[in-house]
Symmetry: C2
Subunit: 357 residues, 2 copies
């Protein structure tokens, strides 16, 4: 847990320079990540990066540090937490990606960022089906104590947040604008509910307005905070496919919910399935991928099938012998054997015989 907000003057230069680094162009992030992981000092990193690039009026040390100070003041004004690279509560899952944010601005509970999390993302124009699936999956994951991460967007994202909240779960929204600027504004109420137990997060300094180019970038944070990314209803050009790509780059699992093939609404998700993403029908499929016990485990107490009971274990049996043991004709036995074979309980061996698996 980070300490409650501390006034700006108490921030050491280390943090001030981390914020300044977060204001440099996004294309510098990889170099920055390497150096942060190598425990270089942020002031030194900034100095080196600036000197290796052509000078730019917006990106000189003095103006970056001044903007960083402003950001700290603004965060204090609107009650944002600052979770910086060197903070113990900086999420470990995010620290390992190639282009980690030097700092995160957080509304709500920063501890939500370090719990076991799964991202659920998808189309802004989610259908009734997509919304229902996202809500259901999020609720079922929440019931298992998994934090649900998404992007607060219209459609699937907000359905995922709502599903988690319905189950009194913790959910994290990563924004493509400042954490104090809720976009879209119709989700202000939802944001308030999220921050009660979960968190609203951004790498962008407070007050940053939403801009188109920020959304692909925040997607790497959605996947970076998560152990797996579940795609619900992504069309061919859905931004959630960028999240899926980020997840793959980051070594996270990518899963997708299938759906209607005629509407085009699932073309992106289906393309992921074709490329080997795991298919999700229920939260159990996600839990299984995470190595957690599934919710809907089937009971093993059902009475044994008479045909199965007639098959001695370890000893293949032909149809005539099985007919004798069970008192059933082969006409009755065969369809049942087919079913048992289908269920993986029986297999055919040579000579028209059947064996228990």
């Amino acid at each position: 847990m980070p300490l409650p907000f501390t006034p700006p003057t108490h921030y050491p230069d280390y943090t001030l320079h981390l914020i300044a680094l977060s204001l440099t162009p996004f294309s510098w992030r990889r170099q920055l990540g390497e150096r942060l992981r190598a425990r270089h000092d942020p002031a030194a990193i900034l100095q080196r990066l600036l000197s290796s690039k052509p000078p730019h009026p917006r990106f000189d040390r003095a103006s970056l540090v001044a903007r960083a100070s402003t950001a700290i003041r603004r965060a204090a004004d609107c009650g944002l937490h600052l979770v910086a690279w060197d903070d113990a509560s900086y999420p470990a899952a995010l620290a390992v990606i190639t282009d980690p944010p030097p700092v995160l601005w957080v509304r709500g509970n920063p501890a939500a960022l370090t719990s076991r999390a799964v991202a659920i993302v998808g189309s802004r124009a989610g259908s009734q089906y997509g919304v229902a699936v996202a809500e259901r999956l999020a609720a079922d994951l929440s019931a298992r104590g998994v934090v649900v991460v998404s992007g607060l967007a219209r459609g699937i994202d907000s359905a995922a947040h709502r599903g988690a909240l319905n189950e009194k779960g913790t959910t994290v929204a990563v924004l493509g604008c400042g954490a104090d600027v809720i976009y879209p504004s119709e989700h202000r109420d939802l944001a308030r509910q999220i921050e009660a137990d979960g968190a609203i997060v951004s790498e962008l300094v407070p007050g940053t307005p939403p801009q188109k180019q920020f959304f692909p970038l925040r997607n790497r944070i959605i996947s970076g905070l998560s152990r797996a990314v579940v795609i619900v209803e992504a069309g061919e050009k859905s931004g959630s496919l960028i999240t899926a790509r980020c997840a793959l780059d980051q070594g996270r699992d990518v899963l997708a919910v299938p759906g209607n093939v005629l509407t085009g609404r699932n073309r992106g998700g289906h393309a992921l399935l074709k490329d080997g993403a795991k298919i999700v029908e229920s939260a159990d499929d996600i839990l299984e991928e995470l190595g957690l016990p599934a919710r809907g485990m089937r009971g093993g107490n059902e009475p044994e099938d008479p045909v199965l009971a007639g098959l001695p274990s370890g000893e293949p049996c032909d149809l005539d012998a099985l007919a004798e043991r069970t008192g059933l004709t082969s006409a009755r036995l065969l369809p049942r054997l087919f079913e048992l074979e289908l269920a993986g309980l029986v297999r055919r061996v040579g000579g028209g015989r059947f064996a228990r698996v």
Copy 2:
């Protein structure tokens, strides 16, 4: 092409014994298949099989041959073709399965059985969605000259036949009753349309009523006649999963159409996808699996993307250089590069550089 129907007295003993063999218990089919493939004489095979089993009043040589003669007469009466094991028009794809039918009874055009075919099968309780998908896939395969095989059942099967007929395609229905006994009877009109250019097929002698145990068995013929089996809307216990299992046993491709995960209607199909079946969104996915050119090939005449044009081929480029070449800021470039990466046209290389693929 088999000859037009020949009166029973002209059938050699060879054919008569093949029919008699088709009347023996289904559990003998594998042994029977081995011997037929080894070119044993049907009369000798029958003699040997009968002498190796305990005597049974229904399964003695005389009564089997008498029933075979009756079948031939009955077939003549209702205008069925007989395609026997030794017939040049016996489908080669079916001859290689472990349990081939010794004879097929065919209404319509027996040549339809030897064309390149794909099976489309699924739930009897097909939804509007499933029916629409089956019709569309069948129509699109027909437009490419692929024969559509199915089981004339309610729901998906009949939709597949109809889709093929709508496109003036050839379609084959394999029955779980005699080829002269149309089941369900509401599909009599459909059957008549099918046999105009395609075929209604059964391994069961004419007049055999539909029985539950015949349906899993006819499923091996549906897959046996086909190069691939496409599952549309199969619930957890759908009979079409038996067809899929038969297809796998026979070395045929299994493909499945995804759908709604909330209704349970696609649980069987999704289970196949989890086990590695290929996902089908359109007929192109099937054609591709068969090694045929897809229908909806994308044109290559679109003007090149300016960002892509700015990337010299074979020479990775960093963001600054790319900004200079294109005149776009990195804030504009990055989302576009993400999209191009997603489209597989650009990849990231070391040092924050991008390269054309």
